[in-house]
Structures are given as C-alpha cells and as structure tokens.
Amino acid sequence: MTVCVFAASSSRVNSGYGAAAAGLGSLLAKAGIDVVFGGGGIGLMKKLADAVLENGGRITGVIPSFMKEEGWGHHGVNETITTRDMSERKRRMFEMADAIIALPGGMGTLEELTEAITLKQLSLFDGPIIILNTLGYYNSLLDFIDHMIDNNFLRAEHKGIWEVVSTPEEVLTALSRKDRGNEEWRKIAKI
C-alpha cells in the first residue's frame, strides 16, 4: 500500500504539529506502508520524511524542478521524482496513492486536500481520504464545510468522502478499515 501525505512546508509551527507528523511517519514505516509526499526538506514534510527513514520505511518525494533548484528538497529520501510544475506534482502523487492523508498545512496543503475530495466526489479517485486534525487545527475548516452543507452548496452525504482523526494512531486504524464503501462511491450515489 502507498499513501500520499500532504503536509506543511512551514517550520515555524507549534512543536505539537511536528511531533504528530513524526509520529505518523514512524507508524507508517513500521506498518510497511510506502509513503509519497511533496519532497520537501522543510517543515512538517521534513519531520514526516525523517521519521519514515529513521524507522526503515520507504518514502518518495515528488517535487517541481523550481523547488528543487531552490534547495527546498529533502536529500535523504529513497526516491525523488522531479516534475515540471505544481500541477504535474499533484497528478503524479494522486496516481501513486492508494490513500490520501492530510496533515496540518497552509494553502498548498489545503488545495491538495480539497482537490482530493473533489476528485473522489467525481469518482476520479476512490481511496480513503484521512484528515489528521492535530490540535484541532482543521476545526474551523470542518465548520465551514458544515456551512456549505447548510446552504446546499455541498450534500451532507459527501461528508462520507473523508474521515477526520486526531492522532497518528487513528490514521493507521482508518487505513486498515475494510468497510470504506469505496466501491459504492464509485458506482452509486444516494439521493
């Protein structure tokens, strides 16, 4: 199994976020789950990648050439895939992923997460999407999603597309769950 992890490039965040990113990397490595990420050698991406590597896991970075040239890439990962631009980076990451995990992050992480949700809503991606809501970081986004539903911009049923968890351990539990209804999301929508 390969999971794609989206996470912050910022290093200035509360250490609790870094600890959760590292905790997740360690658990994924120990579970023998391969990781694909944005290839960054900074922020939560670095915490995640370092922990995967320290625990004998396998991690692939997918990074646009301009970021690599800026020196933002992680140099220790097992494999680096260099892409032309941000769009190709995301596409490559989605293609490789059996599941998506979003850690706290800024605009880049947010657009990756919402694209994953949109793709699944359109049946163009069918794996689990797990939001690791460390320290309640995503609470106000989840409130906004309820606001979308209250105003009929989103259907309540679509909340089943993703799962929100609070700890790295719960991410592993969510990944191992069999009854995700993926098949159903692909073939039938309820009205």
Partner: protein, 105 residues
C-alpha cells in the same frame, strides 16, 4: 441525443411512447452518473428510431423521482408500453444496459 424529461413531460415522453424507453435518473453532482452518461449517449445514437432514450435530473424532478422510488443514482429504468420492464442501478458496463434493452425491442 437523449431527451431531457421532467415532472412536466414524463407522462407524454415516457409513458405514452409507442417505442421502448430508457430513462437515466441522474444528478449533476453525482460522479457515477457521469461515468454512465457517455454510455447512455451511445445507446441513444445506436438505437435511434427504435428506442427513446431520456435523462431525468432527480434534483429538478422530485415528483417523478419519488413516484418511481429512486433512492440511488444512477438508476436506469426500462419502460415498455408505459410500464417498467427492467431496472439497472449503479455505474455498470455498457453491456448490462444492452442486455436489458434488447429483449424489449
């Protein structure tokens, strides 16, 4: 081209038709519906003159949707002489539709 049907014209287009009719119940937000939309269009071309192919947007046709008990989409209903002859729920390969349609011709 598939004909758009709704609560207003369902009776005239589907029930009173002298040809077999298939109705694809769908919605704009429904991913699986998009997957079968090209199949439904293909069938409308291949069976032109022999079968009426219709699409019913469940969000704008609540009465028809309730009347036929549509709870999951896509649902394709096969009508012959105004009555439901067969039904196919979910995004399935084209042959599933063809196999249900051919006996009605």
């Amino acid at each position: 081209m598939a004909i758009e049907v709704n609560d207003g014209n369902f009776e005239d287009v589907v029930i009173k038709s002298d040809k077999p009719v298939i109705v694809d119940f769908w919605a704009e937000w429904c991913g699986p519906c998009r997957m079968i939309a090209p199949i439904v269009e293909d069938i409308s071309k291949e069976y032109e003159g022999k079968v009426v192919v219709a699409k019913c947007d469940v969000d704008s046709s609540p009465q028809t949707t309730v009347k036929y008990g549509i709870r999951n989409i896509p649902t394709v209903l096969f009508f012959k002489e105004g009555k439901i002859a067969d039904k196919q729920v979910g995004a399935v390969p084209k042959n599933n539709f063809i196999n249900k349609l051919n006996p009605l011709l």
